[in-house]
Symmetry: C2
Subunit: 310 residues, 2 copies
């Protein structure tokens, strides 16, 4: 049996640039992925903040193939593969495993509401059985504010009992520390990722493995430093600093704000298009966002250098 190294650390749900006709802009996307890796940030491509649910299964497959063909390491990738349709989830999960991705981040099927844990168990069990690959590592994606369909502790317990190797961890985007705490306490050794960096220190102290955070798209370095230094004397200060930036950015609609930041610090306005139903920031929002970042001395290292040279 092939042993897949467990994912740890800071990952970013990589934002997806679109061309003017709203096709995925794959070269720009790969360039951003390379920069994230240079900042010690793993690639949780096809997450909520990637607008992955606005992409077809075929688009996601083509993007992932191009990313791996571009030489980026699949052992640093955790693509989102959970869809409403069982057949789509199986297809994308099989594809990701086949390309050597270290993990797959799986939303529950999210159209039908009020579904039972039994039904959700069967969904994940069918995916695991149909993919049928010993390398598969699923990370359950708990994001009730968006998906509306939760991943309960009871469901995790049942899945872990049935598939102790394939069910490798969870991303908790509930925004509720008491829930993350309960996951950490209930399942020692399980790969619990915080859904953002605000609780990274608490998560690591509780035995978790890292965070998968939207703002890691733009602030990966300091979040990684916190991850590395969590047991050191500067941990609380570093947590405070990443939190201050996070709280400022999350005062804006997150996905358009991230794209505006990337566009600005790359000097590349082609980064801003979004697929409907998302829309861009209003001009005043954009100004306030960029002014606030400038006041904070915010930087995206490597991109700033290019900017200075321009």
């Amino acid at each position: 049996m092939t042993e897949t190294p467990a994912l740890r650390g800071v990952l970013s749900p990589v934002v997806t640039p679109f061309t003017a006709d709203l096709s995925p802009d794959i070269p720009r996307w790969i360039e951003h992925c390379r920069w994230l890796l240079s900042q010690d940030c793993g690639l949780a491509i096809f997450g909520t903040n990637s607008e992955a649910n606005s992409l077809s299964a075929g688009e996601r497959e083509e993007m992932l193939e191009r990313l791996v063909a571009g030489g980026l390491p699949p052992e640093r990738m955790m693509p989102g593969t959970g869809c409403c349709a069982l057949t789509d989830s199986v297809r994308l999960t099989r594809h990701a495993v086949g390309l050597g991705c270290a993990g797959a981040l799986m939303l529950p099927p999210f159209y039908y509401k009020g579904v039972s844990d039994e039904g959700l168990f069967r969904n994940f069990a069918e995916v695991i059985e149909r993919v049928g690959d010993a390398r598969l590592r699923i990370y359950l994606y708990h994001i009730p504010p968006v998906a509306q369909v939760p991943i309960s502790l009871a469901l995790i317990e049942r899945l872990l009992k049935a598939y102790p190797t394939a069910v490798a961890g969870v991303k908790d985007s509930s925004g509720d520390w008491s829930n993350t705490r309960a996951m950490l306490d209930a399942f020692p050794g399980f790969g619990v990722f915080a859904g953002n960096e605000l609780i990274l220190l608490d998560t690591l102290r509780g035995g978790g493995v890292g965070c998968i955070s939207a703002t890691a798209n733009v602030n990966p370095g300091p979040i990684h430093q916190l991850y590395e230094g969590w047991q050191g004397p500067e941990a609380e200060r570093m947590q405070g600093e990443v939190n201050e930036l996070r709280r400022f950015v999350q005062g804006f609609p997150m996905i358009p704000a991230l794209k505006e930041i990337v566009a600005h610090y790359r000097h590349d306005p082609a980064w801003t298009p979004l697929r409907p139903p998302l829309v861009g920031l209003a001009a005043e929002e954009r100004s306030a966002l960029l002014a606030g970042l400038a006041e904070r001395g915010f930087a995206m290292p490597g991109l700033d250098a290019a900017r200075g040279a321009a």
Copy 2:
């Protein structure tokens, strides 16, 4: 320009049978569609009660092609084509129009919550523009209890102004008569379908065009008689009768209940499988459902005859 006759009357979100390995059971599905047509019921295939959101785009395409190839009339079809991903919505809508379907029932993109009417407008506008076919007739699907993303009156007004021909109507599954009433009042001549038969008479009196109802899968004849006789002396009695049955059936989880009813009255247990995350009725629920129908003298004409002959 080809003129598409406007859809009217009673339509059923056709339940989708699955084989033991959870593939769409296309022959059984076509047989049920034929029976519905024999009961004067149109085919709103790929609706919520069709488990359409548990089917991939490719599965939906194959099913629709087989249905049309089977000789069933596309002018009686309103397939669901609204997906989370713009590219999937365009693909399925183009496919349905190409096969001559009279309408397309479009969910809003439903993953991201709290999106703006501007973003939803752009979604529908992109689909209409990209399909670019004068035959296209979109029916907007308002089902906030499930999709969580509503179709507001302001959005309808804006879409109608921009695309007065392509935007042909709405299905209101809010379960809120005051909302249906507001749609009828605001947009005279617009194709407003009630989301179930409980308010069919009120909807027709208010200028609406019919209903698209889960329970039309099993009780299409009486609902059609109400539609035909809405101005006659028996209308209130007929409304009361269909309501009594509807209220009984909706006391059970709807999709598994419909499949149990079809299975029972067809003497065909192969009708019951569901795709996860949905699960079947518990044994007690099933017994209570079938006993209640027997007490009411419930029948599925044409299928009962086959049963009596068996």
